[in-house]
Amino acid sequence: MTRREKARAYAKERGFVVYEAHDLLHIELPLADFREAMAAFKEMGFNYLADVIGIDYLEYPEEKPERFAVVYELVSLPGYKDGDGSRIYPRVWVPEKNPRLPSVTDLWPSANFPEREVFDLFGLVFEGHPDLRKILTPDDYEGHPLRKDHPLGETPTLFKDGRYINPEQFRAGLKGKDKGLTGWRGGRRKGERR
């Protein structure tokens, strides 16, 4: 029985949502059981945390339980001791009103930088993180750029013939929300009507 199957059995037993898509095993953990489940995965032999991924589902066409999700990528590293190469993707939903979740840096110290990144770019606070500072954006930068409501911040362009491109309107055109200045239909979001 590989660790992946073990993790799946554990999640089924605890009643978590488990699904598989594109060869990835996703496990949705409730915020209350999050720490306990992650410690159990570590105990199971997932010795390597490959990534911490923040996602903002604000504009996602499908309804999601909460606005933010943090996806962890856990690996039982092949080539080290009895690692079998299993990978699982536990995720935890974080509410918009109180964006706090416990840190896992004590279980996997490699979560240090990526949790700081999620804190910096999404504004989610990891409780218990030893050194929660901004990491990528400048210290005087306000806002969390990877949130969907953060503007892209392009400079307006004035052309010689007096034509003026307002980036916000231009982007809306690309996303298909608005015809935009160019009239280009642009990339279409599913579920958007025009």
């Binding site: 990835l24 996602y60 110290p109 990526p114």
Partner: protein, 396 residues
């Protein structure tokens, strides 16, 4: 009367190294706490090269994003193109033809060799060895010329398309590559003779900056730096992609996890990469280079002035892009620095909803303080070089 010898008084000093320092390989700022000459702690401050690629990629179509991917890791840029394309292809269920996969392997390994050459060259330059720099750049120049031939660009190739490649190899490419491969192993031996075994290099690198395997794994080290600690983890073997499982190559492993191992292991990796390229060249059969599905695959350029349908498809793909079914995909790949992957969330539209790049340098940098503590300040330069960070890859 002789004065009594007093105990040397040492006090803590905080030294700022970088962001513009020749040995930081980019814009990395290290705040170093020193006791005399000894490093007590290192705190990396990153973000000086943060360009917000992930945000920009959410606002461009899937094909437009291939312009951004190589700009993150400008030394092994082909790996970023490939990792991005693999994740999107997974979401689409695209089938890449055999010839395209073989060409991808050839170019990926060539790019890896070019990156390792820079690593050896600049790493030794930091230790004061000038000569290998010029020799390594000679070989790298040959590789970049080959890339220019195939893709039209030396650095940011923009050669991969979702479902295949932009165009086929030029006729003269294979003979020129064979010419390069004929002398390459011999050249690697030359580099090895230039520094391995030299008493200065032994003194600067042996036993310096040791990272034990358990520390390396706990702090997220991957790639050659992890293999130097003796952990046999190579994504090409563990999670094969592009048919790497069918190639016969070895994964060189280190024993001690010190700077010496991290430097020397890359020489052997170059030899193995050349071995893969040789095997791939034998498999190069004529055939299609793109998935024939017109929904996401560009039509052949030659057809555009003859076929109305091809022109319409080309126009639609270039302006609107293609729609990717909703889902989330991640394909791990092995870049010259370690595990690299794109976690892509698709919402069904023609722009990715979220792109997260798992860049190896970002994670590798977390092990630096553990390697550098207790060593002299001048060793910090050598240790940093041996981790092979690319700051574009760190900051994205």
């Amino acid at each position: 009367m002789k004065p009594e010898p007093k105990e040397l008084r040492v006090e803590e000093m905080i030294l700022n190294m970088g962001p513009q320092h020749p040995s930081t390989h980019g814009v990395l700022r290290l705040v170093v706490t020193l006791y005399g000459e000894e490093v007590a702690d290192v705190v990396p401050h990153i973000g000086y090269l943060h360009t917000g690629f992930e945000k920009v990629m959410e606002n461009r179509t899937y094909h437009q994003n291939i312009t951004f991917t190589p700009r993150m890791d400008y030394l092994h840029s082909f790996a970023h193109d490939l990792a991005y394309a693999l994740s999107v292809e997974k979401l689409l269920g695209a089938e890449v033809p055999e010839r395209a996969r073989v060409i991808r392997v050839i170019l990926n390994e060539l790019s890896r060799i070019a990156s390792h050459l820079i690593f050896v060259a600049t790493g030794l330059l930091d230790l004061g060895a000038m000569t290998p720099y010029f020799y390594a750049f000679r070989e790298r120049e040959t590789i970049l010329d080959l890339f220019e031939w195939v893709t039209g660009q030396r650095f940011h190739h923009n050669y991969i398309r979702i479902g295949g490649l932009k165009e086929d190899l030029p006729e003269e490419f294979v003979p020129e590559l064979e010419k390069f491969l004929a002398t390459f192993d011999h050249r690697v031996d030359d580099y090895q003779n230039l520094f391995v075994g030299s008493p200065i290099f032994e003194g600067r690198a042996r036993g310096v900056g040791v990272v034990p395997p358990e520390v390396a794994i706990a702090h997220g080290l991957t790639g050659g730096s992890l293999r130097a600690s003796g952990v046999n983890y190579d994504v090409r073997k563990a999670y094969p992609y592009c048919g790497y499982e069918t190639y016969d190559f070895e994964v060189p492993l280190g024993k001690n996890g010190d700077t010496w191992d991290r430097m020397v292991i890359r020489l052997e990796e170059m030899r193995q990469s050349a071995r893969i390229v040789r095997q791939a060249l034998e498999r190069l059969e004529p055939g299609p280079i793109r998935d024939p599905n017109p929904q996401f695959s560009f039509p052949d350029k030659k057809l555009l002035d003859r076929s109305m349908e091809a022109l319409i498809y080309h126009f639609k793909l270039a302006t609107e892009g293609f729609e990717v079914p909703p889902g989330e995909a991640y394909v791990p790949t092995e870049s010259a620095r370690g595990e690299l992957g794109y976690y892509i969330v698709a919402d069904g539209g023609s722009l990715p909803y979220r792109v997260k790049v798992r860049t190896p340098s970002f994670f590798n940098l977390q092990s630096l303080p553990h390697a550098a503590r207790g060593h002299f300040f001048q060793d910090l330069v050598a240790i940093l070089a041996s981790f092979d960070p690319v700051l574009g890859d760190v900051d994205r």
